[in-house]
Amino acid sequence: MAERNADGAIVSHPGDASGRERGRRGLSVTTELARFGVPVLLILLIIVFSSLSPDAFFTLDNLKATLATQSVLVLLALAAMVPFVVGEFDLSPAANASLANVVCAGFIINQGGSTWLAIVLALLASTIVGFANGLVVVKLRVPALIATLAMATVLEGVQLLYTGGGQILGAPESLTQIARSEVLYLPAAVVYAAAVAVVAYVVLDRRVVGRRLYAVGGNRRAAELSGVPVQRYVVGAFTGAGVLAGIGGVILASRLGNATVGSADSLLLSMFAAVFLGATTITPGRYNVPGTVVAVLFLAVALSGMQYLGAPVWSQPLFNGLVLIAAVSLSAWMARRNAAAARKEQLELLSADE
């Protein structure tokens, strides 16, 4: 069995009980499967759909259109994800994006303001909303689910107040070309979403700020006792969600070329589906940027593929819901299995001491 050398390091003899080694290898295969399950399925789906309907599904135009449609959802899913990282629920990103849409398009069309100023105002509004969410949760101690539900309702009121309930139509090209033009052969909206996703990934995964955010979500008390200013990070997460929702709203304004109350509301459920599905992949058990992006694409490809194959409309929400249940329960099962295997290993290590 294992013994320790002079430095106190554990030395395993090559010939000894390899049951444990084998056990671990088995573990890592399923772990890898869990990590890359969704991306692999995504690729399989693309292959299957393009072979079933070669001339309709896998065309460049269709691909571009799918990606462009999903760009707003990617941003909103990221907005929903960031508060989850610190262990808080945020129901307001969709309403916040709608607000940004209304402010952006409204300021240009109704007030005749410049496009850039409109964008700045829209982003500012969404950021303030996110910051306010954070303050209400941290300082007034309102549970996040309730606080952000209330905020979403308030935002709907604000939009109604500004628009009077009608549509704001006729955005100038200066606004619409922002998302509709092409950059590097791709719809600009896609490029923006991708850029934001990369920044979010770097911040969350490669910067100290990100580590701290995950630590706060992992165990708030432990993070606090480690010297992390927890309240600031929670407010920061909500503010970050506000910024992301605002960017989503501006791009939505540009893609639509108009503004209506609650224009992004229909994305609410899809964005949570993507966040939860995303948490089962890439780094399973953890809300993560690449996972969320892959999940948005997976759901989008699956749905548009089914559309091309003539699946009825009702099958789509059905598919969305079932995939979510299947994915999350599968990853919960996997986590239990890994935990059980690890526990067994710890016991073996203990008994090796005897």
Partner: protein
């Protein structure tokens, strides 16, 4: 001799390779109050888990009221035989009334399909009266004093026709007077032909109220004796497994400059307290559950505001308003509740270690760099397996605690405060943790404060001990005075 309620023979249970219970024989008679004691980790709770049918023993026989329990014996069987287990948290719902709490397990009185509130309350009242208790069944449990809550739990067990009741540390959070009221209730159980097993750390209670006591040590039944033939010193030596004069003393440490000076400190539960901690010292703070030693440790870390007094760290004013202030001054804190406050269990070892902002400064933020830096450190701290990228939840309690130590110690703090550092830690890891703390203290001049309720730990680990009694510092024990017995004596005798 009264008929036997519970008879256990040759009970054995192994966790991994450690024998948590080894060939334990045990017997409780009807109408008896039987004490079960032993140090932390002696096997008391393992024993209860087997008898309760929560876990399957590896070997052994359990007889309840003359009936041999089958191999596939579970919690339901235990309940059917009239066993009732009352844990420290009592298992009551605080926001419901006494009557509701009793009815939840005993059953509601129902008339025409609806709950008959009046009748339910009458039934609860009767159940309480059987033990001579006059508690209003309409009161919310959360409005009752702690002793009465425990009495409700016992009355509920009796109402369920329990014939054998296990009480796990029922008096841990009670004042002496309240504890007495609870024991008067337990005396009543004799009249109802109920057997009672009392698990407690309080030696006085065992001597005063129990008929017999069984002492467990290292998973073995050391002895079962009549309490009338026991003295407190004898019982302590039975628990510790050695006489007072053969206690090993901790190694001597050289001490250096004063690191922490506490002057007239007073906070919610503590004070006024004054003391100093020098570099290279391991100062223990201990006492009974209500002594405030854990609160004092928290106050030193900025967890509660000081109402009076001043502190100095390295001859400079130290008044932490939050843990962050303390950490930035080079103070580390290891909380007592490891899983709840000390670690992020679902995060990896690496992420937990690098949560320490001082550790942070040494590395890049890339997983690869951190993994490379951490691997030798995990080996150094004897973490098994030394894998930085495993979730901490997959490690045993002992290895988790080693990771917590690694987190704070590999980039040395000025002052380290540890609360219950070896709670839920296996014997091997405990030795390793002690060794690591002592080495670092004597070699690197680290100042350490250990707040612990484990008197053996205070005696074996610390170079000096401060004994608290209800928030007051009553004794300062030098290293030469420290033994488990002397600390235990000091703690129990108070003034």
């Amino acid at each position: 001799m009264a008929p036997v309620a519970l008879e256990v023979h040759d009970l054995t249970k192994a966790y991994g390779g450690t024998l948590a219970l080894a060939n334990v024989d045990f017997e409780v008679a009807v109408g008896e109050i039987h004490g079960l004691c032993g140090e932390n980790g002696a096997g008391k709770s393992t024993f209860v888990r087997q008898v309760a049918g929560i876990e399957k023993p590896d070997r052994g026989e359990i007889n309840l009221f003359g009936t041999k329990m089958p191999r596939r014996y579970g919690q339901v069987d235990a309940a059917r035989q009239g066993c009732s287990f009352i844990h420290q948290d009592l298992g009551l719902v605080p926001s419901l009334s006494v009557a509701d709490n009793i009815a939840l397990t005993v059953g509601y009185a129902v008339r025409r399909g609806f709950i008959d509130k009046a009748q339910t309350e009458t039934l609860a009242e009767q159940a309480l009266e059987r033990l001579g208790l006059a508690i209003n069944p309409r009161k919310m449990v959360q409005e009752l004093p702690l002793a009465e809550r425990a009495q409700v739990a016992i009355a509920r067990a009796i109402a369920q026709d329990a014939r054998l009741i296990f009480l796990d540390e029922p008096t841990a959070s009670l004042q002496a007077r309240e504890a007495k009221a609870l024991f008067v209730t337990l005396e009543q159980l004799r009249n109802h032909q109920v057997a009672c097993v009392l698990i407690t750390h309080r030696i006085d209670e065992i001597l005063a109220w129990c008929d017999r006591v069984t002492v467990l040590r290292d998973g073995r039944n050391v002895t079962t004796v009549q309490t009338s033939s026991l003295t407190r010193e004898h019982l302590i030596s039975l628990m510790l497994g050695r006489d007072a004069d053969e206690v090993d003393s901790a190694p001597t440490h050289g001490t250096g400059d004063v690191v922490l000076t506490v002057d007239g400190l007073r906070s919610d539960f503590v004070g006024p307290v004054s003391f100093q901690v020098r570099a290279g010292e391991i100062v223990g703070i201990t006492g009974l559950a209500d002594a405030g030693h854990l609160e004092l440790a928290g106050a030193l870390f900025g967890l509660s505001a000081l109402s009076e007094g001043t502190m100095q760290l390295d001859q400079q004013t130290y008044s932490p308003h939050s843990p962050r202030d303390a950490v930035l001054r080079g103070v580390s804190f290891v909380p007592a509740d490891r899983v709840g406050e000390g670690i992020a269990a679902e995060m990896t070892v690496r992420e937990n270690v690098f949560m320490n902002p001082r550790a942070r400064a040494l590395s890049g933020v890339t997983t690869r760099d951190e993994t490379r830096i951490l691997r030798p450190i995990l080996n150094q701290f004897d973490v098994r397996p030394p894998d930085p990228n495993r979730p901490l939840s997959t490690f045993s309690g002992g290895n988790q605690q080693k990771v917590v130590l690694a987190k704070w110690m590999w980039k040395l703090p000025r002052l380290m405060i540890l609360c219950e550092p070896t709670a839920g830690v296996d014997a091997g890891a405990k030795i390793e943790i002690y060794r690591r703390l002592r080495d670092t203290c004597s070699r690197e001049g680290l100042a350490v404060i250990v707040a612990s309720s484990d008197y053996q730990e205070i005696a074996e680990l610390c170079t000096r001990a401060l004994i608290l009694w209800r928030g007051h510092l009553i004794r300062n024990m030098a290293e030469t005075e420290l033994s488990t017995e002397s600390v235990t004596e000091a703690v129990y005798h108070g003034h």
